[in-house]
Each structure stands twice: as structure tokens, then as C-alpha cells.
């Protein structure tokens, strides 16, 4: 059961995480420091350790939060059985690249290994694996069943997202390539 004290703790944890995202947006993901983070929520640095056992644990919670947000964006995707593989792939790719493009620190944390020495915990990583499994199921509904095709498709989609975020953050230079990319990929699959 959740007591009042548990809810208070959870609220403070969320407050800390929100401040961490703000700091990441302003100073970069690796620019989060414990003392400024603490003062952003009106604490001294050591008090943060009442809510997170380490700085890495804060990154871990942010990683998990990002994956839950990605999972939410997946539930809005159309059913390939309704709209066909082409439209479904276009919609999912667009959703993914837009997700990456709208919050650069979140993209960096989730899809690049950019925090020295940090790796997601097993629990947090499980949420990422769950998302990958959801994507696999989605691709299977689109008729992409073999591993080599899935490997190629994930490489293409992550490549587009990474180029977009890195070289045109917030823009659409690679977003506008999605339709022809999907057509190219599907045409090759029909051909073989």
C-alpha cells in the first residue's frame, strides 16, 4: 500500500527528475552536477542521496522515464492490418525520429553511450528491451520477419534519427526522407 509518506517521497523524486531534465537541457546531459541540482529543488547536495543512491541512479531513472514516454508514443501508432505496411512503417519511423528530435538530452541518454562509465541498470534496461520487443512485433505485422531485415531496418531508422538530431536538431532535413526510405526498403523486400 502507498502511504502518505511514500507519495511525498515519490513527489520529491519527480521534482528532482524534472529539475535534472531542465539542467540537462541547459548544461548538457553530462553537465548535471549534484550541488546545482540540489539547489534547484531547494536542498543541499547530500540530501539528494535520500532519494537516489547515486548520480548514476538519477540517470537510470531518467532513462526509464524516457523509455516509458517512448512506449506511450507507440500505443498511438496505427495497426498495420488497418493501414498497410507502408503507412504503418512511415508512421512508426516518423514517431521515432520526432521522439528523438524533440528532446536532445533524452535521445543522447537513451540511444548513445554518452555518460562516461554509466550503463542502465538491469531494471531500466528491461524497459528498453520491452520497447524493442514491441517494435519487433510491429515490424512483424508489417511483414518484416527475418532478423537480417530487422537489423537493416533498425540500422536505417537509427541512422536517420541520429543524423537528424546531430546535424539538424529540431529541423526536418532527414524527417522528410522517411517516405522514400520506406518505399525503397519495401521495394527491395518485394524484389527478393
Amino acid at each position: 500500500m502507498t502511504t502518505r509518506i511514500d507519495r511525498r517521497r515519490a513527489a520529491t523524486r519527480n521534482e528532482i527528475l524534472d529539475a535534472a531534465w531542465d539542467l540537462a537541457a541547459a548544461e548538457g546531459l553530462a553537465g548535471i552536477a549534484m550541488r546545482p541540482l540540489a539547489s534547484a529543488v531547494g536542498m543541499q547536495a547530500p540530501s539528494l542521496y535520500e532519494y537516489f543512491p547515486s548520480k548514476d541512479a538519477i540517470y537510470d531513472a531518467m532513462f526509464a522515464e524516457g523509455n516509458r514516454e517512448l512506449a506511450e508514443s507507440y500505443v498511438a501508432l496505427p495497426d498495420p492490418a488497418d493501414v498497410g505496411a507502408r503507412e504503418a512503417l512511415i508512421a512508426s519511423t516518423r514517431a521515432f525520429i520526432e521522439f528523438c528530435n524533440e528532446n536532445e538530452p533524452r535521445f543522447t541518454l537513451m540511444f548513445q553511450r554518452s555518460i562516461p562509465g554509466w550503463r542502465p541498470s538491469d531494471d531500466a534496461y528491461q524497459e528498453a528491451v520491452d520497447n524493442l520487443r514491441r517494435l519487433d512485433a510491429f515490424l512483424e505485422c508489417c511483414g518484416i520477419t527475418d532478423m537480417r531485415s530487422r537489423d537493416l531496418w533498425t540500422a536505417i531508422v537509427t541512422g536517420l534519427a541520429s543524423q537528424q538530431v546531430t546535424n539538424d536538431p529540431g529541423g526536418d532535413r532527414w524527417l522528410t526522407l522517411i517516405d522514400e526510405t520506406v518505399d525503397m526498403f519495401l521495394a527491395a523486400r518485394v524484389a527478393t
Copy 2:
């Protein structure tokens, strides 16, 4: 003119850079610390500042060195006029992914933003731009002239390389997808 003392300095600089690559391989790129690096070449930390003005300058020299190595691997590529676009694209993509795959810290330094707060200097970045220009010229010889096609191709190639290095370092899971990727890309170009 290069005096004996200049050559001695250059030799020491190379010694430091070699030790830095070794440390990066062992501790991760961001795990390079000045004191261990200094002791690896038999110095105290402050002496390093006689050869590099800052730690970032060491990353900068490593970045430039990596780009020169990449440029060297480009000169061995076949001429598209000799072997045709398909073979030329396959060879260049294979060379690039193998380059990324054979030295993970070098890949991380050159193609990911993984050192917090560090960006290559203008001089070092120029070498990366030169390499990109070489790649553009090469793609043009392969008949890939418009920007959208180049954007798509660079996204695909960097996506393959990143998946290979991240998820199967030293292996060939994405390397073996090159041939069909090139065929897919070229078929779509002929079709439109």
C-alpha cells in the same frame, strides 16, 4: 625548418598520444585522466601541459589522427569508373564500417559526441570536413549527386556502422548486410 629539439618534442607528443589510445582502450575514452596518462609516459601530470595546453587538446590531436587514418583508408578504394557504382559503394561502405569496428574509442571520438563539453577545434574539424568532401566526390562518381540521396546514404552507412560497433563490436552482424543494402539503394535510385 625542423630542429632536433622540434623532433624531440614531436616524438614525445606521439608517445603521449599512443599512451592515450592505450588508456582509452582500457578505461574508455572518457576514462583518460591526466595523472595516469603522465605516469604511463614517465612524467608528472603538469609536464603534460608542456606538450598539450589542455586535456581537450589531447582529444583534439587524437581526433585529427583518426581522420588522417580514415583518409588513408580512402586512397585504397577502387575507382568507380573502373569497377562500377555497385562495387565501389560496397568497397567504400565496407572500408568505413571496418574502420569504425576495429577501434571503438576512435569511432566514439570521431562520430559520437561522447566527451562532455568537448568539440573538435576548427583545424581538426577541417580534416573531418575534408574527408566528408572526399566521400561526396566518391559518391558523385557513383552517380549519387543530389543532396537528398547523399543524406539518405550517409544516414544508412552511419546507421550500419553505429549498430555494428554498439551491438556487435568486432563482429560482422551488420557488415554482412552491405551488399544487399547497396543493391536496395541503387535499385530505388534507378526506379525513380
